[in-house]
Symmetry: C2
Subunit: 207 residues, 2 copies
């Protein structure tokens, strides 16, 4: 590694070039993906020269990897504390729904970006620790033993909950065109969505 690590943060007032590049790269890559993004576009947005991108990150591939690893870890909300809480499976799922939808409302490009990248090269995902499902499943079986939830396939169920959270953001353009609604309408829809999903979750899980 011959990459410089930002070492002049305390001396200068202005934001370091490295940070500016990372911010610009994030914006461009998230909106357009790897193939659709141009180094020139990133340079323009960062207000610097194309050559600087290579000076700091060597290649488009390396810059992209840096962005992806950072964003992928944000794709699912943090649920460690959630799992440790002394609440029922149903309640955990309800809180998860709220966390995930709020996260996606703030990062609407995240799902398509992550899915496309993994689809093209699933080596990316192999490096990531992803124990979300199994953590949830444990909690489910505890409550099943206590007869607090209906007997079903937890994998299918959790897949369904995630689907209901994530898919609307992926299909937004089709949805808005097909039923002719505006961006504001969509936002209200997503604002009401956690409550709606939570009703479904309770209807499905109640024994």
């Amino acid at each position: 590694m011959v990459k410089p690590i930002s070492q002049t943060m305390e001396k200068t007032e202005k934001i370091s070039t490295e940070i500016k590049i990372l911010a610009a790269a994030e914006e461009v890559f998230l909106k357009s993906g790897y193939d659709g993004s141009r180094m020139q576009e990133i340079a323009d947005l960062a207000g610097i020269n194309k050559a600087m991108l290579h000076y700091y990150f060597r290649s488009k591939d390396l810059l992209f990897e840096r962005i992806f690893e950072q964003k992928f870890s944000q794709f699912f909300p943090k649920i460690q504390e959630l799992m440790a809480m002394p609440i029922s499976f149903t309640e955990k799922v309800c809180i998860y729904v709220e966390l995930h939808i709020n996260l996606l409302r703030q990062n609407p490009y995240l799902p398509l970006f992550v899915i496309n990248t993994v689809h093209k090269n699933n080596d990316f995902v192999k490096k990531m620790p992803l124990l979300l499902m199994s953590e949830f499943a444990k909690s489910y079986y505890t409550d099943l033993a206590a007869n607090k939830v209906k007997d079903l396939n937890p994998l299918q169920f959790l897949m369904s909950v995630m689907s209901m959270c994530v898919f609307p953001f992926l299909s937004k353009p089709i949805l808005c065109s097909s039923i002719n609604i505006s961006d504001q309408d969509f936002d209200t829809l997503m604002n009401n969505r956690p409550e709606e999903i939570k009703r479904y979750v309770r209807a499905i899980l109640t024994p």
Copy 2:
């Protein structure tokens, strides 16, 4: 239009070049999208020369449009007859689930292809007639008046049903990596999925 229309179908035994190109283009574009696809790759797969692609379809854009329009119309299952049937809303939704999942099992690349294309250029979707939602909603309100279904937001509900059908195919790589399952395991999961979703649908809709 100076494009030749395949006129030698009845004389020759061999498949016309136009058909071969379309088949190859479909495969490549579906797997890699517009940006990720190369004209050379399509030519190789069709077993012909790159120049022929331009002879028949003039440009990459036009060839892509041709493929997209054909595939987009397949993205949602045909539901006209379904709507005309004298069955309840709940039953219609259940049949829809089965139709859509079977369709996607046969065309697993379709969702990502359609979503990416529309995301890049939503002019594509504007040309398409998409009255799936409103047809379903009408049926819902009929049954609501007869007290046969619970009172809820039909748009949110239908969005949820579609999410549960489509999203697993989009997230397959992440899912398989994260819980460490094989392609066969995924296929069994999708084989069982319609029954599982139909259980959820009944639990949510039953008053």
